[in-house]
């Protein structure tokens, strides 16, 4: 016996019955038997027919065993209707969810009808009401059928009672495969329990609780029939059926593609950020390579010279040792010969007299390289805590060491007006990147030979304020509100990614600070950064650990990753 078919037919019969019941007041009141009624009635009859057809013939009572007769009966009843076509139409007919809405429309119509006393034109009115009803039914049906929004209705036990076309399309099931099933059929197996609990909780909430409830209104990962993950955006409403039972209406939108697209966008954004970092790193490396190669140049060169001087000295020493030997044990002519050689060599070999200079030069070179390397280390803060209290004056100093050569090359005068600063909790490496960005921008903005950059640091009760002022070309007024936008750049193609200031802005925001700019074309620009002295930790790296033990932290972490994939 095909229970599925029987169940489907029964369900349809029940729906038709429900509709009949709904239409009954109208029918009683006006004792009309119009098209709507006959349609609904034929729905009902056809479903019964379908039901009987689904039962194996031998199981039917003898009276019903002659199917032909029944079919014929049904055919007469539905007159010219083609049975199979009628059945197909029945399938797509308005179901429980629409009825809910239809009922309210109908009640409106009824109110209209019942308000005026029955008059001769009552018949016409009824007809009009029926038309209205039919139209709104048709309209709702069209909407429900064509919306890309998946809609389903579940009962208190979580059994699906209604699914629309879109819902079926999203999950890849036919309505038959879903209706009568538990709704967790569409969630990943390991999430079944979570969803069941959530559903139970939702169904038991008071009306008040429901109104404030928004946990379901987010993104979820669910499962397509073929097992592939889907991302949906969901929302739900709770309704009460005529029998007083609660139902949950769930709306789902398939955002899998959108999420993929968003992820791709995020990836390319990360790549661009990386590219910007690499490009500023590249520029910094270029500058620093020159800065390091110069002292390395004279360090290496002086060491080579030292080697030459050492050869001179060794050869001289050799002569003197020979001389000693000859004085003690040799001949006077040999002594005279050696003295002559010594005389000759000391005339040409004079490099050793410069040994002190060479050593001092080499040491100076080594010291300069050491300085640069430690400046780089200070700048990158590679061996320090990511998030810690820092004195921004120190950050500025270590950044200045890195860009010092830029100032020197362009002959830019640097004015430091540093006030005493309280420590602020910050990501020092990120703030250094901000200062590097702003300082290199300031240097690049200066195209004349009387460049001047002033850095001021101050604080008030709540914030530390840093101002970087240049007397460069300035920013056009129409560009001022765009400079922090990603990809906005006035530099020629290939010379700027347009992300420098956008990253700067992001970093300052991450510190709950503000960055602003004032500028006048031809006179220069001032960038002002304001960072709060006291601030609340926001990200996980700043948060206090809940437990010193890693196992504990894992269990604390898992529920959130289990339930929601919200980014």
């Amino acid at each position: 016996m095909n229970y599925d078919h029987i169940r489907t037919a029964l369900r349809k019969a029940r729906l038709a019955l429900d509709k009949l019941e709904l239409l009954e007041p109208l029918w009683e009141q006006h004792s009309t038997h119009d098209d709507t009624m006959s349609d609904v009635f034929s729905d009902f009859t056809l479903s019964i027919h379908q039901l009987i057809k689904a039962i194996p013939e031998k199981l039917l009572p003898p009276l019903l065993q002659n199917r032909q007769a029944i079919s014929a009966k049904v055919t007469t009843l539905s007159e010219t209707l083609d049975v199979s076509k009628a059945l197909a139409e029945t399938e797509s007919r308005l179901q429980a969810f629409i009825e809910e809405t239809m009922r309210s429309e109908m009640q409106k119509a009824l109110q209209q009808l019942s308000a005026p006393p029955a008059r001769p034109e009552a018949d016409a009115l009824t007809r009009e009401a029926n038309d209205t009803l039919r139209r709104s039914e048709a309209r709702l049906q069209t909407i429900i059928d064509s919306t890309p929004l998946g809609i389903c209705i579940t009962n208190e036990d979580g059994i699906l009672e209604y699914v629309n076309d879109a819902y079926c399309r999203i999950y890849g099931y036919s309505p038959e495969e879903l209706i009568g099933e538990h709704f967790t059929k569409v969630v990943p197996p390991d999430k079944t329990q979570f969803w069941r609990e959530m559903h139970d909780k939702y169904m038991q909430m008071t009306g008040e609780e429901i109104r404030g409830y928004s946990a379901i209104r987010t993104e979820w990962v669910v499962r397509h029939k073929d097992g592939s993950p889907l991302t949906i955006l969901a929302d739900a409403a709770r309704i009460t059926a005529e029998d007083g039972r609660r139902k949950k209406v769930t709306f789902v939108m398939n955002i899998t593609e959108m999420v993929k697209l968003r992820e791709r966008l995020r990836q390319s954004e990360i790549q661009l950020m990386q590219a910007e970092k690499m490009s500023s790193l590249g520029q910094m490396v270029a500058g620093l390579a020159h800065e390091i190669n110069t002292p390395l140049g004279y360090l290496k060169s002086n060491l080579q010279l030292l080697l030459n001087a050492q050869k001179e000295l060794a050869s001289m020493l050799h002569l003197y040792q020979n001389l000693k030997e000859q004085i003690l044990h040799g001949s006077s002519s040999a002594v005279a010969q050696l003295l002559h050689e010594i005389e000759e060599q000391s005339e040409t070999a004079t490099l050793y007299t410069e040994i002190e200079n060479m050593c001092l030069n080499a040491l100076d070179g080594a010291a300069r390289i050491q300085d640069l390397v430690s400046a780089l280390k200070n700048f990158s803060r590679i061996d320090e805590a990511e998030f810690k209290p820092v004195n921004l004056n120190e950050n500025l100093e270590s950044t200045l060491k890195i860009v010092e050569h830029l100032f020197r090359e362009k002959g830019i005068r640097l004015e430091k007006d540093f006030g005493a600063l309280p420590d602020v909790l910050a990501y020092p490496a990120q703030l250094n990147q901000v200062f590097l960005n702003l300082l290199t921008n300031a240097v690049q903005a200066i195209t004349h030979d009387h460049g001047h950059i002033k850095i001021t640091t101050r604080h008030d009760d709540h914030s530390v304020i840093i101002k970087i002022t240049d007397n460069g070309s300035g920013i056009k007024p129409e560009h001022l509100n765009k400079i922090f936008d990603p990809f906005f750049t006035t530099k020629p193609v290939g010379q700027g990614t347009g992300l420098g200031l956008s990253i700067t802005h992001q970093i300052i925001e991450r510190h709950q600070g503000q960055i602003s700019v004032e500028s006048q074309v031809g006179l220069g620009s001032t960038f002002t950064i304001k960072l709060p002295i006291e601030r609340l930790p926001v990200s996980s790296t700043e948060a206090v650990l809940a437990s010193p033990f890693s196992e504990d932290l894992k269990t604390v972490e898992s529920p959130s990753t289990q339930t929601s994939i919200t980014t």
Binding site: A286, G287, A289, H290, E291, I292, N293, T294, P295, L296, G297, Y298, L299, K300, S301, N302, Q304, L305, T350, L351, E354, N357, M358, N361, D364, G365, H405, R408, E409, K410, G411
Partner: protein, 311 residues
């Protein structure tokens, strides 16, 4: 090593570099300054055979200084000694500074000394090449200059053709082999424009080889990629005339070709104008006539280049 007669001017904003130079070149005629502006003033008042400059300096870049120096003292041999090789600077050094050598810090004292000694001799050589001047004038002075374009892409060759075939006798080659044979047959070719995709398969060595055989060739290198190391070799070994980055405007290419032709003519009129000829003379290497297959010849040149004891 004999101390050369010519005077050398060292320009670097780092005093320690200059001090080291003084130590390396003890007994030579040298002058040092930390200021490019000062350097330019000195060039106006006294003759220098060689000028060696740093690239990154406060007042002006090394390339800018050498470009000015070329105007003030065209016979001085120009050398750039720099801590960092940024390709754009190298291209500038070729195209506007016409530098003789591009040397990267840290350097090797002996190679530096040998290079600067060569440079001094090259500067001193003006008087020693009289007879070759006459010989050259006798041979080719009145002959017109022919062009050779080498490019892997036929479409690009067609482009050059449409631009120049009505004005000059042009030759075209799609492979280095072809180019090698065409040059052997057509002595009037004075300017070669070579695309990087071809040259780089054999490195800059092909162009170096061409100048070894035909010192008067003026070479234009065309590239759509940028490789700093290659560019430095093109200066130091190939002594190329221009480094053009594809795509370039037609007008710029036409001007470059015309400048190259003019330069080649000046080489024909007076080999002394050709620093390559002077260098060959100094190194006593002279033009090589090769009957070898191209690849063997290139291997030979490559060995010679890597065995060089100077930059």
């Amino acid at each position: 090593m004999n101390t050369p007669k010519s005077k050398i001017l060292f320009v670097d904003d780092e005093p320690q570099i200059l001090e080291t130079m003084k130590l390396i070149f003890r007994g030579w005629h040298i002058a040092t300054t930390t200021s490019p502006k000062d350097a330019l003033q000195r060039l106006q008042s006294e003759p220098f055979g060689v000028i060696v400059s740093d690239q990154r300096m406060p007042e002006m870049t090394g390339v800018e200084l050498l470009k000015e120096a070329k105007k003030l003292s065209p016979k001085s041999v120009r050398i750039l000694l720099t801590g960092y090789s940024e390709l754009n600077n190298i291209i500038e050094a070729i195209n506007s500074g016409e530098v003789y050598r591009f040397i990267i810090k840290p350097w090797d004292n002996e190679k530096l000394k040998a290079t600067i000694l060569n440079a001094c001799k090259i500067a001193e050589l003006y008087v020693d090449l009289r007879e070759e001047v006459e010989k050259a004038q006798h041979q080719l002075a009145d002959q017109s200059v022919e062009l050779l374009f080498i490019d892997r892409l036929d479409s690009h060759l067609q482009g050059y053709k449409s631009l120049f075939e009505n004005i000059y006798t042009c030759h075209f080659a799609q492979t280095l082999e072809e180019a090698y044979h065409i040059l052997a047959e057509h002595k009037a070719i004075g300017v070669v424009a070579c695309d990087s995709t071809l040259a780089s398969t054999k490195g800059a060595i092909f162009l170096t080889a061409l100048r070894t055989m035909y010192p008067d060739l003026v070479i234009i290198f065309m590239s759509d990629s940028k490789d700093a190391q290659e560019a430095i070799r093109l200066i130091n070994d190939g002594q190329i005339f221009r480094y053009l980055v594809k795509p370039f405007p037609r007008s710029a290419f036409r001007e470059t070709i015309e400048a190259a032709i003019a330069l080649h003519k000046s080489y024909r009129e007076n080999p002394l104008n050709n620093i390559k000829r002077r260098e060959d003379k100094v190194l006593q290497s002279g033009p090589v006539q090769s009957q070898m297959p191209l690849n063997d010849f290139l291997a030979d040149i490559r060995n010679k280049v890597s065995a060089k004891k100077f930059y």
